[in-house]
């Protein structure tokens, strides 16, 4: 059974602070995706990482894929209230289905 563990589960920070969210598994991913979900909405894809060691940037968000393709991190610089939401990582294995982590709920206080 493929499992993805995300940490932390909850994070409450002040506007302007930096944060990092982690996604870990004992299995190797074909690729890994990060999503953000707001209440009452479906998840929205932020990025897909495919190559071990890959780093992608999306404005103030930096995504990194581990060299062994078993882990990933999301770093947000100078967080803003608009970053508030549920951040989900999802791994794709050879079976082509997405396996989601349980998510990190982020609250950025003004």
């Amino acid at each position: 059974t493929q499992l993805l563990e995300q940490s932390p589960q909850f994070l409450s920070i002040q506007e302007g602070e930096n944060l990092t969210v982690y996604c870990n598994s004992s299995s190797v991913f074909s690729s890994l995706q990060w999503y953000r979900q707001e209440p009452g909405e479906g998840p929205v894809l932020l990025v897909t990482v495919v190559t071990g060691g890959e780093v992608k940037k999306l404005k103030r968000l930096t995504f990194q894929f581990g060299d062994a393709r078993k882990d990933s991190s999301l770093h947000i610089t100078a967080a803003q209230p608009g970053d508030t939401g549920l951040y989900l990582c999802a791994g794709v294995w050879s079976s082509y289905k997405l396996i989601f982590g349980s998510g990190t709920r982020l609250l950025v206080r003004p």
């Binding site: 909405e41 897909t48 495919v50 989900l88 082509y96 289905k97 997405l98 998510g103």
Partner: protein
């Protein structure tokens, strides 16, 4: 270009009843997957349809079944509803079977009473 659309947005059913949820994929997408998201949890994979056939299935009982039509739209059926089936049901479409890019609908909130 419309994204993934799901209907209905909210639904209340009684335990033991049956329910059908509908999904229209993003234009150009031929692969549709269904997920169940319980409150405070990440989405759990139910199954995936491609070329009108179920290709992959998660750890869900046979009470959960689905269908994909020639226009790539899809239905999720749940029989003999249990209180524990209350959740947000999400449909996602992809341009390929590898799920390199999955686009989600806004979901159907099912409440079983």
């Amino acid at each position: 270009d419309a994204g993934v659309t799901q209907s209905p947005t909210h639904l209340i059913k009684t335990r033991g009843q049956q329910v059908t949820l509908r999904c229209s994929p993003k234009s150009g997408h031929d692969t549709v997957s269904w997920y169940q998201q319980a409150l405070g949890q990440g989405p759990q994979f139910i199954f995936q349809y491609y070329e009108e056939e179920e290709r992959q299935r998660g750890n869900f009982p046979d009470r959960f079944s689905g269908h994909q039509f020639p226009n790539y739209s899809s239905e999720l059926n749940v029989n003999a509803l249990l209180l524990g089936d209350s959740a947000l049901y999400l449909c996602a479409s992809s341009p390929d079977k590898l799920n390199t890019e999955a686009f989600f609908g806004q979901g159907t909130r099912l409440t079983v009473v």
